[in-house]
């Protein structure tokens, strides 16, 4: 540096002189500090200014702090967070006006948005206005009507017509040769449970069948689900070996079942395909290109070797369930058969010419709907019919469909006579299905056309004849078929399968003809009246249902205040929320050393028949029962008392019989036996735990308060108390407390279920309640085979003189101490009513 040049400060007489040189490390360290502080400032601006105050003048607007929309968009979120920290709530997003929301386009967008997470049925909006909706199996389903319709729905199912939407059942289409299908399904089911999938009575496509599915080769355990199926009728007999089959699966079991089907038939998804590239030279190894479909309407799987195809048809059909004798009238009133002489019916016409005395499908259907009750038709019959648009068949007001006049065809003749052709239907054809829903006239269009053309209100118009007919499949459901079990023909009805998009039109017509809509609750109540269990406890659906129900019960139990909870330890109930089938089977196992096998429900028809004979007619108890099977029984209380699900089924002792006879003599309705109260050892523990926990929380709080005080003495600003952060502590305490409230897990110790109370437990009730059909409290339960054997042996010893005495067992609810006698019988037809 040259010293001649006058420096600023020194030249003016100041005392600061610039150094002649700079040490680089000092300089660098200074710069480093500067950069650090700059970065820190950029990351955490320490300016006390608000965002809008930092803006340059030309970007400022009036009332900016009040209205964040006046800020540039990139500052809005920061502004909002600043304002909310300061305690001033920023302007909330106002809900758009109702007028805006209800504009058709916006409404539709909203509906589409809401369906992204969960599926809707086509009748969803109709139901959502009238029903309590719940989320089940990936759908939003109606549970029960908002009106009190419990008894009304029973009456509808018994005497009128109950209508339910079961479109949530998913349809799986299988395509292949009969032999392949028979062999494949032979691995998934057992001939003991009933007819196979390729039984002659189903193969023609005239009847719908049901089949018990198991995991591949695991029968009798590993049950999946009871599925119903129908074959596509052959258009030209023996012309094509490929046959089509529809399986109707419950949504809870779809995934498990399809994975089993994929495994058994060795199917591959068609979403990703490997296509071989043309080989350029021979010595090169073959090269492939992977072709991925971006969007698949229906998931499909294929096996190239056998030609087997599987397709999951989601939301392709509407399936409505009509229950009750009047469903005949409702259907007859709302379906008018469409008659035309076009080419589509040519095949059935040819067949009709061959045999004149048989009715074709349409006539047969009309005649069948004239009968008094659906149970007079062949059970599980499938009818195919083309009807005119159901919107044209509505009454002007909601009216009860009246009984038709006496039919021309005798019911017994109709039962034994078959329609001329099997039920061909356009619904089986995927292209026709697409065309059907594409060409459907919207209700809006229909209304506009009516406005234009209808001169006299309520009269039919000319354009209505041009509306396309819709193909329907009607499936008869026989309901109760055993007169000695439940009322004959109860819950008989029809299932209607309609193409997609026609759901609402058909639904409204059925409702207008007086059908009573029901929800999921009505499935349970109809099953209870029928004395069947839709979801057996070892199936996928049954396990899922039991888990959900137990969670609900547990949550409800711990929502109650402690003095309203019943103490299951005192009541000697081991598993208050779900039936511990596995532990029950383990306790009744005779050979204790064997490894625990999973329980299963006895479905073998011949074995059930032998058991039934043994219970009714005192025959020898069959020996070949395995230890880990459960037997479904129907229970009926014939004195006082109520029954809930998860009640205990117990073996009566000799003392109980004695008291029972005495009570019968004196017409005494008291419970036969009352469980003595146990003492609860945990009561003191709970009290100590609670007190300790409270004390701990109090101490922690006091510590925080002291800390705050200490800070307050030195601080100039306002000091807030430190947040508690005891969430983990509290939740830990809750789980500990819950475990102290509940009895110990039954899986831990041996004999904990069987000898949990003063009577030996050999079964559990799965669903129960008051049955209007029987005018008694009825339920369905499951008992172990060895327990049943012991009960029968005890009966032989005790009631030797009273031979007409029906088989009785003891029942006790999980929340009560009273034991009562109940009658016991075996249900032979496990798949009834599915």
């Amino acid at each position: 540096m040259s010293s001649q040049k006058l420096e600023y400060d020194a030249s003016l007489g100041g005392h600061v002189t610039l150094p002649s040189h700079v040490a680089t490390y000092h300089y660098a360290s200074g710069l480093l500090q500067e950069i650090k502080s700059m970065i820190a400032d950029a990351q955490l601006p320490a300016s006390s200014k608000l965002i809008f105050q930092t803006l340059p003048k030309h970007m400022r607007r009036r009332a900016m702090s009040h209205h964040p929309k006046r800020l540039p968009r990139k500052y809005r979120s920061a502004h909002n967070s600043q304002m909310s920290k300061a305690g001033n709530q920023p302007v909330n997003h106002k809900r758009p006006s109702r007028k805006y929301r209800r504009r058709p386009k916006n409404l539709l967008n909203e509906y589409i948005r809401r369906q992204r997470k969960i599926n809707w049925l086509e009748t969803h909006i109709w139901h959502a206005k009238r029903f309590h909706m719940i989320d089940r199996w990936g759908y939003r389903l109606p549970y029960a009507s908002c009106d009190k319709t419990y008894r009304a729905c029973y009456r509808a199912s018994a005497e009128h017509c109950l209508l339910q939407d079961i479109s949530f059942y998913s349809c799986v289409q299988m395509q292949g040769t009969v032999d392949h299908l028979r062999n494949g399904f032979g691995r998934l089911t057992s001939p003991d449970c009933g007819l196979g999938i390729a039984a002659k009575t189903y193969l023609s496509g005239r009847r719908e069948g049901s089949i018990q599915l198991f995991a591949d080769g695991q029968y009798p355990s590993g049950a999946l689900h009871c599925a119903s199926f129908m074959w596509r009728p052959e258009e030209q007999p023996e012309a094509q070996a490929q046959r089509t089959l529809w399986l109707w699966l419950h949504p809870a079991a779809v995934e498990a079942t399809t994975s089993q089907l994929i495994q058994v038939f060795q199917l591959k998804s068609t979403k990703q395909e490997q296509l071989p590239l043309p080989a350029e030279s021979d010595e090169q190894s073959p090269r492939f290109v992977t072709h991925t479909k971006a969007f698949e309407r229906n998931k499909s799987y294929i096996n190239k070797d056998t030609g087997m195809e599987m397709m999951i048809l989601n939301q392709e059909f509407n399936r409505f369930r009509l229950t009750g004798p009047r469903s005949q009238c409702v259907l007859a009133a709302s379906l008018r058969v469409h008659r035309q002489n076009s080419s589509t019916l040519s095949k059935s016409k040819e067949l009709l010419d061959a045999s004149h005395d048989l009715l074709d499908q349409a006539d047969y259907c009309e005649a069948a709907l004239q009968l008094r009750s659906p149970s007079e038709v062949l059970s599980n019959l499938i009818l195919s019919v083309n009807v005119i648009d159901p919107r044209l068949q509505r009454p002007s007001k909601r009216t009860k469909a009246s009984n038709p006049a006496a039919s021309a065809v005798n019911s017994t003749q109709l039962l034994m006579m078959q329609p001329a052709s099997p039920p061909f239907s356009d619904l089986w054809d995927p292209e026709l299905r697409v065309r059907l829903s594409g060409q459907m006239m919207l209700t809006h269009q229909y209304n506009q056309l009516r406005q234009k053309h209808a001169i006299v209100p309520g009269e039919p118009c000319a354009f209505e004849e041009q509306m396309q007919p819709i193909p329907l499949l009607l499936i008869q459901r026989p309901g109760s078929q055993q007169a000695n079990y439940k009322r004959l023909g109860y819950a008989a009805g029809w299932d209607v399968i309609a193409p997609a998009r026609y759901g609402m039109a058909l639904w409204q017509t059925l409702i207008m003809w007086g059908a009573r809509p029901g929800g999921l609750r009505e499935f349970e109540s109809v099953a209870r009246e029928l004395g069947v269990d839709h979801h057996l406890p070892d199936t996928v659906t049954g396990l899922e249902q039991a888990a959900r129900a137990s969670l609900e019960r547990r949550a409800r139990y711990f929502r109650l205040p402690p003095n309203k909870r019943c103490n299951y330890r005192k009541l000697a109930v081991v598993s208050p929320f779900k039936a511990p089938w596995q532990s029950l089977v383990r306790d009744w196992n005779l050979e204790t050393s064997t490894s625990p096998k999973s329980f299963y429900v006895m479905r073998d028809r011949a074995m059930l028949q032998r058991l039934d004979k043994c219970m009714r007619h005192r025959e020898q108890f069959p020996d070949c029962l395995t230890d880990n099977c459960l037997i479904q029984v129907e229970l009926r209380l014939h004195t006082r008392g109520n029954l809930e699900s998860n009640a205990l089924i117990c073996l009566p002792s000799r003392l109980d019989w004695k008291r029972y006879w005495r009570q019968l003599k004196h017409d005494n309705q008291e419970p036969v036996h009352t469980e003595p109260l146990l003492s609860d050892l945990n009561e003191r523990l709970r009290k100590e735990l609670r007190l300790g926990h409270k004390r701990l929380l109090k101490r922690l709080r006091a510590r925080r308060v002291r800390e705050k005080r200490r800070l307050q003495e030195t601080s100039t600003r306002r000091v807030h108390i430190r947040p508690a952060k005891t969430a983990s502590l509290v939740s830990e305490q809750l789980t500990k407390m819950c475990s102290l409230w509940l009895p110990t897990e039954p899986s831990e110790t041996h004999d904990s279920v069987r000898r949990q109370c003063s009577r030996e437990v050999f079964g559990y009730v799965s669903c129960a309640g008051f049955s209007f059909v029987e005018a008694a409290v009825c339920g369905v339960g499951y008992v172990t085979a060895n327990g049943l054997r012991q009960l029968l042996a005890a009966r032989k010893a005790d009631t030797a003189g009273r031979s007409r005495q029906p088989l009785l067992c003891l029942l006790r609810n999980a929340n009560s101490r009273d034991y009562r006698f109940a009658r016991l019988q075996i249900n032979l037809n496990l798949a009834a009513g599915v």
């Binding site: 001939p191 007819l195 196979g196 390729a198 039984a199 002659k200 009575t201 009847r207 008094r372 009750s373 149970s375 007079e376 062949l378 059970s379 009984n403 006049a405 006496a406 039919s407 005798n410 019911s411 017994t412 039962l415 034994m416 078959q418 026989p478 078929q481 007169a483 009322r487 004959l488 023909g489 028809r605 004979k613 007619h617």
Partner: protein
């Protein structure tokens, strides 16, 4: 269809000892098509007292006549009920009885895959009891015998007796 050969004959008294190759499924017994209120079907399950009360209520409500239909096992119950009603009425009621035979069809469901469904036709005897008010002050044009338009019974008309 050829496979659907019908089997004629009476319902076996008990099929306990028979080797069962088929599952028998009963159909609902046929009912009158016009379901008026004054047709009462006697079952073996319904409480006797309840049925008696139902008939008495109908008669007290002003019904001129009621019809009791009973079939097979419940015939005795029907007769008992009719006699009880008439006994209790102290001469206000009288009765007329028709007998008929009813065709019933049972479905026989197969238990093995190779068979198709078959039917069994059988007959059952039925009784139709008309109970009417023989009040002297009512001028009623007598309509005897009772014409029940039983769809099944009227087509056959096997033996009709008047008591």
């Amino acid at each position: 269809m050829d496979s659907n050969s019908t089997e004629r004959g009476a319902k076996p008294r008990n099929n306990r000892n028979r080797q069962q190759s088929q599952r028998v499924v009963r159909k609902l017994p046929p009912r009158v098509a016009n379901d008026k209120r004054n047709n009462i079907y006697i079952t073996s399950k319904t409480d006797f007292k309840a049925q008696q009360k139902r008939c008495e209520d109908l008669l007290n409500a002003g019904a001129k006549e009621i019809f009791l239909h009973c079939m097979g096992y419940s015939i005795t119950r029907g007769l008992n009920l009719a006699l009880r009603l008439i006994d209790n009425s102290e001469g206000a009621l009288s009765y007329a009885i028709n007998t008929s035979t009813i065709n019933l069809v049972d479905e026989l469901h197969p238990l093995c895959d190779e068979d198709d469904i078959t039917y069994r036709q059988r007959n059952n005897s039925a009784l139709h009891i008309k109970i009417f008010n023989n009040n002297l002050f009512d001028i009623v044009v007598p309509k005897l015998p009772a014409q029940t338009n039983y769809t099944e019974a009227s087509s056959k008309k096997p033996q009709k007796k008047q008591k």
